[in-house]
Symmetry: C2
């Protein structure tokens, strides 16, 4: 399910509607760049903020503009009934994969998360990626739980959060997790700032926010890593340090929304409120950093 | 907005519908007990798991069965557009107060939370309670932000989370927060296990999960505290220690759902999945504790 770059585009919107035209443009850029796959309606695609019908419209638009690139779609929701409906609709529409995070309001217990994945795995036959993102779901998977879920039918991949800054610890973490997983379940790293460490530690690919808008520079990293040239991969990632600092300061989604608007790819302030776009000095700072990196 | 007990009932449901009959029964019990107010569709009322139309049906049912007791209703949602729609609908329906938590998926910035409250305060004229619950929203208010929001029109109360176990620290916390607030803004404690400490520390009342099902025992505490008899209030709360331990272990909502079913007030497993009801030994343990406390 994940080899090289899986790119996660924004879903530009305003308070009254989704900008499907701008979204289609973002999808077409990724198709033209030849990314390995794209993950629409991920966290950066604001899946959590949209109604089920809106999410189906976004998925259909992605499928209509993605060319030969497989489309993975986020099906997470607070309620299992909604997850199941989204999973069935996405399968019927032709999604290549389903990305499922255990989104929570009331903190979830391990057996509740297991049962959620079991319900979806028995309802559909499309490959599923387990989305492990404690920063937004506030659920922490144990390795044992990852192993039990990975043994369910249709589980194809795990999108894992940022690894330790220490390369040896990062590699040990990947090795420890893999010991719980069937061989066919791939691991994709997320958390762009340290993703190159995930590739060095043996992940199969990179589920990337940056790649949703700047696929070229991320492909430089994934392609170098794919040939074992970790020095080049690390050098390209290190050059992007000012971008990673923006993510830490503003959150990746606000930086990507600002960048897409600066590039003329969507309107200003394309995020669902209460999220607010960057303005004034913050916007100017993002522009300066992106120009310095020759990304604008 | 809050004096004495504000009781937060469950919203019993299953995967296909809301059990409005059981819900009306819970509301009628609270009206008969003469609680100070009730908070429907709070966290324990599973507001986050329901569609807007479902939430309106629940609110109307509450208003039809609440007698003279003021009804506060949760209007939180991930998206501001939904919060505004819920606020307007609740005001039109006749809610006495609106309870608003800054629910998050992407972590929110302070100015985003301020803007959310500002939007709602200018859209409706119904008193608003700021719902500060980092355990479910993952947003932490600063006292300065509480002060700025409390200065907005219509802000009537703040529902604050559990205070320190140290009485002096708890009292200092309440004093420090009050220094940022206009005098008309009340403070209600939540986190039932330590709520008596909030009352001792000077909170105006108790937003209570326990009170949603067992109003009598909570009223013993709030009434004693209201007359300054903190020794009695603390003794009654201390006697409930086995119940507080159940909340720590299972989460309050699962314990309340189990208790309501044991009392014959709703069906087994009345929570929205992925939340799962307690079964087997866990259910038997809850029954044993409740019988020991003469609550069953």
């Amino acid at each position: 399910m994940i080899h090289g770059l899986s790119a996660f585009p924004l879903t530009p919107m305003n308070e009254s509607s989704i900008d499907l035209h701008a979204f289609a443009g973002l999808v077409e850029r990724l198709a033209a760049a030849g990314v390995g796959s794209m993950g629409v309606l991920g966290s950066t695609g604001s899946y959590a903020y949209l109604e089920k019908a809106e999410r189906m419209r976004v998925l259909r638009e992605a499928l209509a503009h993605s060319g030969d690139v497989p489309v993975i779609v986020g099906i997470g929701a607070l309620r299992t009934r909604d997850v199941l409906a989204l999973a069935r609709d996405a399968e019927d529409a032709g999604a290549a994969g389903l990305l499922l995070a255990p989104v929570s309001y009331q903190p979830l217990k391990e057996h509740e998360v297991y049962t959620l994945f079991e319900s979806v795995c028995t309802a559909v036959g499309t490959p599923i990626c387990v989305y492990d993102n404690p920063g937004t779901t506030h659920f922490r998977f144990s390795d044992e739980l990852h192993g039990r879920i990975a043994a369910l039918p249709n589980i194809a991949s795990i999108k894992i959060p940022r690894l330790s800054d220490d390369p040896a610890e990062a590699a040990a973490r990947v090795t420890a997790l893999r010991a719980h997983l069937p061989a066919h379940v791939t691991l994709g790293i997320s958390g762009d700032a340290a993703a190159v460490r995930g590739l060095a530690a043996g992940c199969d690919g990179w589920y990337s926010v940056t790649g949703g808008l700047f696929p070229g520079v991320v492909q430089q990293i994934t392609r170098a890593a794919g040939t074992g040239d970790m020095a080049t991969a690390q050098a390209v990632s290190a050059r992007l340090a000012p971008l990673w600092a923006l993510y830490d300061r503003f959150g990746g989604i606000r930086v990507m929304a600002c960048a897409a608007a600066l590039m003329g790819l969507c309107a200003e302030d394309c995020l669902p409120r209460p999220l607010l776009g960057l303005r004034g000095e913050e916007r100017a700072h993002v522009a300066q950093v992106l120009r310095g990196l020759e990304l604008l």
